[in-house]
């Protein structure tokens, strides 16, 4: 059913829809033709929406009880944990929710990298997604500061000090960010304010992300353009809604496992020590989801160089659609790129590990190798492999996996397994 054909059945519905076509939007979302071969890696978009809403709802409740003041913040968190009805549950959902949000977003991003979802005509979806990811990191970082524990305070000190690396104006910018001459009460206050703001900015970008998605429609594991609607597609409802719900429930089981049975395993024990500007922790480490970037930062001997590379590691993703020269989207049909993809995954995991270790000896050497490879993957591997690689034959459509060129049923079967 095309969007233009929709007319509400009731008279009132028609009256309203003529003035604000919300019902047309609803019909569009229901009928939205979706490739029928999407695998479970495609369910993380819905899961991420759930994560965002969970964080917003639990966050609003927490903000009703939290006190953003350097002398009271730590105690107010303990008040939430001990005296607020189900405060422990709400806070543990919120703190573990941040980790689950990043777990889901990394799977979502790496899915896009494997199946080439960032390529034409979906570059804008990709870029909006990266903006969301940047805002997520900012929100998570500021949120981690709010309990005002030792890691909150020293993490904030390390990260805000990065801006002092900017030549000439660095020191002034850092003081301006702090609102003081060190991380202090004004810093905590503004971080709370921004931490409350950012999720709503993310929500706005999510709407744009989905809008931009609905223009070309979903990519799919085969990575080919499909006719919509056709026998290659299913209506979003009920097919995708039920599948997304199933995947979300599986995700929630893992989520609940963390919340109820090991709620502090993803955090750092030092954050249960109240912030003390006079005592520096032995190792200052960010939350796990920021570790690869922390490793890149510390692998450069020069402070400014480290900051540039760290931000560069994220900003290079913005030009990824133009660095990848391959015409074929899905790595399923790219035998060489596929190898490099997994090496890249390994490289990011290794960088994450190095970020958690002290920057010395073999850890520093490996962090440097990992950093160089990270950039080489985008600057050298992606353009060169795209040009030189001989890709596997691609099916004409999802329903008919007929191969162009030498039809080899065994190969087709193998490809289907991969998908």
């Amino acid at each position: 059913m095309s969007d233009h054909d929709y007319t509400p059945k009731s008279k009132a519905g028609k009256w309203f829809n003529d003035r604000l076509p919300l019902l047309t939007l609803g019909a569009h979302l229901t009928d939205y033709p979706t490739p029928k071969n999407l695998n479970y890696w495609w369910t993380f978009g819905g899961i991420l929406t759930f994560c965002l809403l969970t964080q917003i709802i639990t966050g609003i409740v927490l903000a009703m009880h939290y006190v953003a003041h350097a002398d009271l913040a730590f105690a107010s968190v303990e008040h939430i944990m001990r005296d607020v009805n189900y405060g422990w549950l709400i806070r543990y959902i919120h703190s573990n929710g941040a980790s689950m949000f990043f777990l889901a977003v990394y799977i979502h991003i790496f899915r896009s990298l494997f199946y080439g979802s960032y390529k034409s005509p979906r570059e804008v979806i990709w870029i909006i997604g990266l903006l969301i990811y940047l805002l997520m990191m900012a929100a998570a970082f500021m949120g981690y500061v709010l309990p005002w524990g030792q890691m909150s305070f020293w993490g904030a000190t390390v990260i805000t000090n990065l801006f002092s690396a900017i030549p000439l104006v660095g020191e002034s910018i850092t003081t301006w960010l702090w609102g003081a001459y060190s991380v202090d009460n004004p810093t905590l206050n503004r971080f709370f304010s921004l931490h409350y703001l950012i999720p709503f900015l993310i929500l706005g970008l999510v709407v744009l992300h989905i809008w931009a998605l609905h223009v070309p429609g979903n990519n799919n594991p085969v990575g080919i353009d499909i006719k919509k609607p056709s026998k290659d597609t299913v209506p979003f409802h009920p097919y995708i809604t039920i599948k997304d719900t199933f995947a979300l429930l599986m995700f929630m089981i893992v989520f609940a496992g963390f919340v109820f049975f090991s709620p502090n395993v993803l955090g750092h024990s030092d954050n249960y020590i109240p912030a003390n500007p006079l005592v520096t922790p032995a190792h200052i480490v960010p939350e796990w989801y920021l570790l690869p970037f922390y490793a890149i930062l510390r692998s450069v001997p020069d402070k400014l160089g480290g900051v540039i590379l760290m931000f560069g590691a994220i900003f290079i993703l913005f030009v990824l659609p133009w660095l990848d020269t391959s015409k074929v989207r899905s790595a399923v049909f790219r035998p060489i790129y596929r190898q490099f993809y997994w090496i890249f995954v390994l490289d990011v995991l290794m960088l994450g590990y190095m970020g958690a270790m002290p920057a010395e000896g073999i850890y520093l050497v490996l962090a440097r190798v990992g950093t160089i490879y990270y950039f080489a993957h985008f600057i050298i591997v992606m353009p060169v492999v795209g040009l030189l690689e001989k890709t596997d034959p691609i099916p004409m459509s999802i329903s008919e996996p007929v191969l162009t060129g030498g039809a080899d049923p065994a190969l087709a079967r193998k490809d289907n397994e991969k998908i």
Partner: protein, 262 residues
């Protein structure tokens, strides 16, 4: 199947990294002892008698230096904790003198404690506690178990880990050797010795027994919601598994209309 090899390589390396992470965190101090706590695991619960004995050790030994400012006396009677009776909680609270005020004349006054009062601090402020303890701050014990890597095992190990320094290690005055403490040096002298408290339930007050009891008490103090959390968690996960099964079956039925596997 080259891709498969790279994938398995990935898992092997991740595993190796993860296991070496454990080695690294051991650092210079000895790995904490492992105790089979009753409150660990999915259905873990506190041992009520141990919590009550642990509170006695805290009150008679620890509380002369360590504060526990986020707990109230009423918490001692709440479900999931030591579960003292209402009368016992009132008596415990009444045994301390609380400074209250100012009254209508603007004067501060003292009164017996009430269950709603927070645990009384042994010192008027942090600086006083540092001055009275040779320059070392006796940390607040409310969330101490959560504030140390190794948690309950670590606290227990430190309590039983005092020994004479090995040859070649010299200690300043007021510094003690403890093999589980990070850096091996601690400014708290061994707080426990056999029969330093007299348990009313007849349990022999050995150092090991008291260390276990007080660690149990501190673990509850840090996570008073633990029993409710475990109980709710089991229910939530059973509910989610049932719902997931129903949704899975619905999904299979709906997708049977198209020629694609889900």
């Amino acid at each position: 199947m080259k891709r498969f090899n790279i994938k398995s390589l990935l898992f092997i390396i991740t595993f190796l990294l993860a296991s070496s992470a454990k080695l690294h965190s051991a650092g210079e101090s000895t790995e904490p002892l492992k105790v089979d706590w009753s409150f660990k695991g999915v259905t873990g619960k506190f041992d009520r008698a141990s919590l009550q004995r642990g509170f006695q050790v805290y009150k008679e030994v620890c509380s002369s230096c360590h504060s526990m400012q986020y707990l109230s006396y009423r918490n001692l009677g709440e479900p999931g904790g030591p579960e003292f009776s209402e009368q016992e909680v009132k008596a415990i609270a009444a045994s301390v003198e609380i400074t209250d005020g100012p009254d209508d004349q603007g004067e501060m006054f003292t009164r017996p404690g009430r269950p709603a009062d927070k645990f009384k601090n042994p010192y008027p402020n942090v600086k006083a506690s540092i001055a009275a303890n040779g320059g070392a701050y006796p940390p607040d014990m409310s969330v101490l178990v959560k504030a140390r890597p190794g948690g309950s095992n670590y606290i227990y190990s430190v309590l039983v880990g005092y020994e004479d320094p090995p040859a070649g290690v010299t200690l300043d005055d007021g510094v003690y050797y403890n093999k589980y403490m990070i850096g091996n040096k601690i400014k708290m002298s061994s707080p426990l010795s056999d029969d330093i408290v007299e348990y009313s339930d007849g349990t022999q007050a050995t150092v090991d027994q008291m260390a276990k009891d007080v660690t149990t008490f501190l673990s509850w103090a840090a996570e008073p919601e633990l029993e409710e959390r475990h109980r709710t968690g089991v229910k939530v996960i059973i509910y989610l598994i049932l719902l997931t099964t129903l949704v899975y079956l619905s999904m299979k039925k709906i997708w049977s209309r198209v020629d694609t596997e889900v």
